[in-house]
Symmetry: C2
């Protein structure tokens, strides 16, 4: 780190960017290779990547989107809209709203799956204890949950 900011703008190594964003170094190189990130400038003698602050911010946004389950192509779309600035605000709103809806649906489904797993744990616990009353009750609940798998509208 040291005197990195003395007579040049401040920059970050790939390791630092990885730690900040939560993306792996391999992923950062991959995003650059596929053109999701435009070419990152290099240190003249070592060839090491030097990320500027603005790029790091972009990468942190991308990391959030990825963690929210967004695919590479949609991230690309997001960056394209971003480049168009406020003119594309309406489209940005749509992009995020659509993804939010998708994620909300997915979360609801996962919550049902969580119930399923918890009941399965309960079931084997009842069997472990030889408690056939509890086993029967759990099976009834399980059937209930499984039935909801095929009728997602009810949630």
């Amino acid at each position: 780190m040291a005197l990195r900011t003395v007579d040049e703008a401040s920059w970050f190594t790939i390791q630092e960017v990885a730690r900040r964003s939560g993306l792996s170094e391999a992923t950062l190189r991959y995003y650059e290779r596929i053109g999701l990130l435009s070419t990152v400038p290099r240190d003249a003698s070592s060839g090491h990547r030097r990320y500027d602050a603005a790029t790091v911010e972009t990468i942190e946004s991308l990391a959030c989107l990825r963690a929210a389950g967004m695919r590479v192509e949609d991230m690309r779309h997001y960056l394209q809209l971003l480049a168009r600035g406020d003119e594309a605000a309406g489209e940005q709103r749509q992009l995020f709203a659509r993804h939010a809806t998708r994620l909300a649906t997915q979360i609801a489904q996962l919550q049902l799956r969580l119930e399923y797993l918890q009941l399965k744990a309960q079931l084997w616990d009842a069997r472990d204890r030889g408690d056939s009353d509890a086993e029967l009750r759990t099976i009834t609940q399980l059937l209930n949950v499984i039935e909801q798998f095929s009728r997602p509208e009810e949630r």
Copy 2:
């Protein structure tokens, strides 16, 4: 379908099993190929797969586990314990409890990501409307959410 049950046990085609389980035909063949499912018997003349009722039940369980985010190797482990019957009940309880915990954590994180996406939609909506007051308020909330990304204990 027709008289399938007249003088032989009832069975299901790969298409029927796919529809019931929600897995694709390709996935069913894949699970068999990697040995997650033991070899499914074939019709003598056509070579088509014939799934019996017990196998279909197993497959439906696997589909639930997969939908809950369980990996192939863990499904394999589950089937191994299943083969040991009630003797392995304690291990089954553990397997499901562990996965439930994992899924619960994941859901909590996704809920935070959902908030993020919703705020992003709000942000661009504010920009779209030119409402800089709302924009500023949303940014404050966004920073709050982003801060929670790195401190998951607080949830």
